[in-house]
């Protein structure tokens, strides 16, 4: 388990909702590899329930470095984008690092990954690291004693 503050999808989205739509935000979410899919579904559901928007969910394979802008573009004036980074692709991280202002210019971006990839991102992407609103360890609700989902 990482040393970062622990949270749940509910707490994370509640924090985002409380911060308001005016401030762009970028979160690095660290989950156990086996729980990434559950956390992704949970975060997406919480965004729908608490913010009333359908988040844009992207997997590593869906983001192309040559048209990064398209990946983050949305008709929604304040999109929530949830990117699941399930493998280490240096070219993608490098592109994200160089274009992080573009990616986070309006809206909220969650980068969801495991601890190993998160540590590599933090070491290799200084611009991204500097723009992070927070880095948190995230687990599904039931992992901290909540009701089964």
């Amino acid at each position: 388990m990482s040393d970062f503050a622990a949270t749940t999808p509910f707490q994370l989205v509640r924090r985002l909702a409380a911060a308001g739509r005016e401030s762009p935000s970028l979160y690095l979410l660290i989950a156990d590899t086996a729980e990434i899919e559950t956390v992704q579904a949970d975060v997406a559901a919480e965004v729908e329930v608490q913010i009333g928007d359908t988040p844009r969910c992207l997997a590593t394979a869906e983001i192309h470095t040559e048209n990064l802008e398209d990946a983050f573009r949305s008709a929604n004036p304040w999109p929530v984008v949830l990117v699941t980074l399930d493998r280490w692709i240096p070219k993608l991280i490098d592109s994200l690092d160089r274009n992080i202002v573009l990616a986070t210019s309006a809206g909220a971006v969650f980068l969801l990954t495991n601890e190993e990839i998160a540590n590599r991102i933090l070491a290799a992407a200084p611009n991204l690291r500097n723009r992070l609103t927070d880095v948190v360890s995230i687990a599904p609700d039931e992992a901290i004693g909540g009701a089964p989902d």
Binding site: T8, F10, E48
Partner: protein
């Protein structure tokens, strides 16, 4: 037709309409409804309606297609206390509500002590006396017919109107 027969027929027609409304009211999946009820309670927490809300509640218990959402007790800032329990059945076409109890204990000093809103699992043989969805005021055994509505709307009604106003 006697007046009594006519009243019973009217009561049966009302029950049939309520059953149809219940059957037509497809809810979202139980785990999403749980999230929605929790988010609502936290919004009320932000408004000061509750001193605290437990993030782990309501609890969702699932056995096969049957689901139960349970909130053992939540205390209002006024001192009122609410317990609720909602039973849901997952069908191919969606989630149906099959039974619920919302029990509100009003705070000391009110002229009323309890409000109970209940949906029985089945209609009764005497729908005039015991409508399936009903409200009890205090310890009265009178079953006042209550409209079929989403549990989120019932919760809102309790939080914004019943708890704030009844017995004041």
């Amino acid at each position: 037709m006697s007046v009594e027969d006519e009243l019973n027929e009217l009561a049966r027609a009302r029950e049939a309409a309520a059953d149809a409304a219940l059957s037509d009211m497809l809810l979202e999946a139980p785990h999403l409804l749980r999230k929605r009820l929790r988010a609502y309670l936290f919004r009320q927490l932000d408004k000061g309606r509750f001193p605290r809300v437990d993030e782990k509640l309501p609890e969702l218990r699932t056995i096969d297609r049957s689901n139960e959402l349970i909130y053992p007790e939540i205390e209002f800032s006024s001192g009122a206390r609410l317990q609720f329990n909602i039973q849901l059945e997952q069908l191919q076409r969606g989630t149906l509500m099959t039974q619920f109890q919302f029990h509100l204990q009003l705070p000391d000093g009110r002229s009323l002590r309890r409000i109970r809103i209940e949906l029985n699992p089945e209609g009764s043989r005497d729908p005039f006396t015991v409508p399936r969805c009903h409200l009890h005021v205090d310890n009265s055994q009178a079953h006042v017919p209550f409209p079929i509505m989403s549990p989120l709307l019932i919760l809102h009604l309790i939080c914004e109107h019943i708890e704030a106003d009844f017995g004041t």
